[in-house]
């Protein structure tokens, strides 16, 4: 009996030690940086650092207008004639490649590449604003996981938290540079 108790004790201690040795899951931070002002002139810079765990918990508690319980309800008319889920299904089941290419004064490119959905926009033949969006497909899927006429932002944030460092959005024009990304640092660099 003593041997049995000792074995159980050792097993419990070993389990505790193993659990204690497990690294805590790394916190992911969403960073937003907006820099305004023409080159050479002092402009405004805004930096926001939000941990995704905070966003995950706070978003479902927000009940404002069309944003309820972490979901944005799209109005009648907004994308009502477009079945985003069907499009997403088609994109997910397709190999990497370019789906939409618009060439003209403004260039638009929508593609799937290494598990990411890419959207690139260049205005005025490259002289205007440039927008780059690079979102993991799992995040897009989570965003569209709700009802047909809603975007599940909370689910998208949860999905985002499972990814590593990602540069999500950059917008650049004459006066503004916007950058949205996630990493494990609590300070934007």
């Amino acid at each position: 009996m003593k041997k049995l108790l000792a074995s159980v004790g050792i097993l419990a201690l070993a389990t505790g030690a193993i659990l204690a040795a497990q690294p805590a899951p790394e916190e992911r931070w969403l960073h937003i940086r907006v820099e305004e002002g023409k080159a050479g002139k002092e402009g405004e810079t805004v930096r926001v650092n939000v941990p995704l765990t905070l966003a995950e918990k706070v978003l479902p508690a927000i009940q404002v207008d069309r944003f309820q319980g972490g979901k944005v309800r799209l109005d009648d008319g907004e994308l009502q004639e477009v079945d985003l889920k069907v499009i997403l299904q088609a994109v997910r089941d397709t190999r990497d490649g370019e789906f939409v290419t618009v060439e003209g004064k403004d260039n638009v490119r929508v593609a799937k590449e290494k598990g990411h959905l890419l959207v690139k926009v260049q205005e005025d033949n490259g002289a205007g604003a440039k927008v780059d969006v690079r979102v993991p497909m799992a995040v897009v899927e989570a965003l569209l996981s709700g009802e047909k006429n809603e975007l599940d932002v909370a689910a998208a944030v949860r999905a985002l938290a499972k990814h590593g460092e990602e540069l999500l959005v950059t917008v650049t024009d004459d006066e503004t540079h916007v950058r949205i990304w996630i990493d494990s640092e609590n300070v934007s660099k």
């Binding site: 002092e42 405004e44 805004v46 930096r47 926001v48 905070l54 300070v187």
Partner: protein, 153 residues
């Protein structure tokens, strides 16, 4: 034991309890931290003041405001934001020190950060300099009180 001795023992006992109560209260006040507000006007001969208030006063002061009044005076937008605010404040406790929001512009710098268990708000403009530090415990207590006042019938 004569009556004098008995009275002395009772008095000393009461004093000991009172002293222990004071030490405990002082400990609780110290533990809750202090809110610091400092404002300095930059114009010549401008005013400046600094106040430091024990954060333990926050729940005490809020207890004197009837829930009915809090509920009446609260704007609907604030009411809708309360549950999210309470969760956000609770979550702030789990975060490391660091900047949450920084705005640097011509003529004004604003920073909201977590510093030593406090929410620190610093504003430095051409006209004035404002620094506010609020212990997270005080914020949490205020948010909880507002939520319960809002939920009261």
């Amino acid at each position: 034991m004569n009556n004098n001795q008995k009275g002395f023992t009772t008095l000393s006992g009461l004093l000991t309890v009172a002293a222990a109560g004071l030490v405990l209260a002082a400990g609780l006040v110290y533990d809750a931290g202090a809110m610091r507000i400092s404002v300095r006007e930059k114009r010549p001969e401008g005013d400046s003041f600094r106040i430091m208030v024990p954060a333990a006063i926050v729940p005490l002061a809020m207890a004197f405001v009837p829930d009915r009044i809090l509920k009446q005076e609260m704007p609907p937008e604030a009411r809708a934001a309360l549950p999210a605010l309470r969760i956000a404040v609770e979550e702030l406790r789990n975060l490391p020190d660091g900047p949450l929001v920084e705005v640097h512009g011509p003529g004004e710098d604003v920073s909201i950060a977590l510093r030593d268990g406090m929410l620190a708000i610093d504003v430095d403009s051409d006209d004035e300099e404002v620094h506010v530090q609020v212990p997270l415990g005080a914020l949490e207590s205020a948010a909880s009180h507002l939520v319960s006042a809002n939920e009261s019938s």
